[in-house]
Symmetry: C2
């Protein structure tokens, strides 16, 4: 699998005139070689010449963490007092064009630019993203498994099996994190819990605010499930709960709009449809209902080995959906000082129609 | 405080010929303005001209997360379909030299370089690190508080109050993580639990290996405590436990060497001493005892708002320690296939002598 992925990367390098691909921290590295770099001041770099063998440059003290795959790469550890930048530049030779990992620390790119002044650097995603964003059946199955795991947690929230009223947002967030791990993820990526007016901030940080009866709570959570091959796939879901049995009428009306907008966008996500049209499908319903100015973000993001990746479901992205694209569909309505709501599923585009990977109930959960 | 820190940064920019400082994800941003950027594909950037006002460019949907400080910076949100790179370049004007956040994603530096082809980029740490690495009394107090919190956890480990035998490394790691949060940290940075032969890998990832009676366990853990000002300070400690009352003689002999080496390095960490001499103080003892080739890493790293920062306690770093430097002293001995051991405290250099911020017992904890 890794060999085939690297072959595809090399074919793209050939087509794009890239001499060397360099991958460091981030999700490209595990995707292409099964190893994940620690985000530390000690640099790790997979150096992939268009022709010739790949080399994984690693800090010596992390050598034991590397599952060696001699058919894919050789390992070049560097010692604590060696200069790894010189080592990497040496492996790259006189490359005109290097595609460099998008999530590598910029400081290392400054160092490499100083060491390789005649080399032009571009984003590695120009090579890796077209490959990564088309998931094969095995990858979709892994995303589905991660999705089913967070669905079970969402269902517990909706049934009132996870205490909300009287708890702080932070305590509920910690409990969601615990359940994310218990349900088979290896990593918690986020667990947003936003009560009442706090939900008007889409990326609210769960805090000491105590959840009360008679208000809405937005929960947006997900993690990464890492397989035996070292590659992790992500989950991401958002559901909304009203904490007693008397939901506010204005909130309910907005929720009905959101629910229909989200469903419309999922239906629109057919193979061949430009990404921006999926955004428009959700947005049009929300605009028509008069909430347009309260839907302050794009409709979604791709998901796979990374929680956010291509394709983005946003106005201006004319890329047509392909079989195997996986992405979130998550419109929201946010009214400052009052409340916010967002409804999110992961969806895989497929030749026989949009394939939702989350199945937890989409209605507002009304407790009590 | 933020204003004074930015003043010091601007003075350094003046001295170093830097026109604009740009800070994004990482610890520089909260240190200089109290805001921490989310590590996402939506860029956040504090743009600080040497003369003139600073501007915090943020994704519009994160605006509610910003604690506005108009005396320090103005806020410039960008919309989902705007180009933030153009906005940032515009704020930078015709800068010849930009110092760019070391931990920003390299992909954004590629974009900025394309947008600003005549600008030379260098590491922001050339400006920020000399400021950050000298902690004032309040910062040392915060590091001491975080250190005392992990000391309490270490003491529980040493007293056998945290179950080890029969548990998986991963379960103990999760429990340490839970206690790190319970003891007042806001974030778990790592919780290495390495049993027996696994400890020979310094950065071992706690896994499904079940801890047995009659073997050593290395625990290295720490987190970040975030204050009301949005700035977090880190803890980091390593202790070793033998899981029954009959420790192996060879291990005990090595541990005695390690214990003495660590204490010698702490004693050596006086103001004015070059960092590499602290490394040498530890290393010499270990070399003399015949374990030199098993001490495979530097002696330590600076610590503060970031878990690893300047100054590094490593051969080749001739920088003399200054009052207010804070760093780890953590020699180790690693024998592949057998065991590994590391003993770590955080130490603040002070005019009246080295000030250890960890006080948990340094002896091998022998259970049972």
């Amino acid at each position: 699998m890794f060999a085939s992925r690297l072959d595809r990367a090399r074919a793209r390098m050939e087509a794009d005139g890239v001499d060397v691909l360099m991958l460091s921290v981030g999700s490209d590295l595990p995707y292409f070689c099964g190893y994940e770099a620690m985000p530390l001041e000690r640099i790790t770099m997979l150096v992939v010449p268009r022709e010739g063998d790949a080399t994984l440059v690693i800090p010596g003290l992390e050598r034991a963490r590397v599952h060696e795959r001699p058919e894919i790469f050789s390992v070049a550890p560097w010692g604590e007092t060696e200069d790894p930048i010189a080592k990497i530049a040496d492996l790259a030779g006189a490359a005109d064009t290097v595609a460099i990992g998008d999530h590598m620390w910029a400081g290392f790119l400054v160092d490499l630019t100083n060491q390789m002044p005649n080399t032009s650097f571009r984003r590695a995603s120009s090579i890796t993203s077209p490959i990564r964003q088309v998931k094969d059946a095995e990858e979709v199955a892994r995303l589905r498994k991660a999705g089913a795991a967070v669905d079970r947690i969402a269902t517990r929230l909706q049934r009132g099996e996870i205490p909300l009223v009287g708890q702080t947002e932070a305590a509920v967030s910690a409990e969601l994190g615990r359940q994310i791990l218990e349900e088979g993820h290896d990593r918690v990526n986020f667990a947003i819990v936003a009560a009442g007016e706090n939900a008007a901030s889409p990326h609210h940080h769960a805090g000491e605010r105590v959840i009360r009866a008679g208000e809405p709570v937005l929960c947006d959570f997900g993690g990464t499930m890492i397989g035996d091959d070292g590659i992790g796939y992500c989950s991401d879901i958002t559901r909304n709960i009203w904490t007693d049995d008397r939901p506010d009428r204005e909130y309910l009306e907005a929720y009905a709009v959101l629910h229909e907008a989200q469903a419309a966008a999922v239906r629109a996500a057919t193979v061949g449809t430009p990404c921006q049209d999926v955004d428009r499908a959700a947005r049009q319903r929300i605009v028509d209902a008069g909430f347009g100015s309260y839907f302050v973000h794009r409709t979604g993001h791709g998901i796979g080995v990374e929680a956010h990746e291509d394709p983005y479901i946003v106005e201006g992205n004319t890329q047509p959906l392909a079989h195997g694209n996986a992405f979130s569909v998550e419109p929201g309505i946010y009214i400052e000082g009052k409340w916010g709501m967002r409804l999110e599923d992961i969806v895989a585009a497929a030749d026989d129609g949009p394939d939702p990977l989350n199945r937890a109930d989409h209605h507002l959960a009304v407790l009590g």
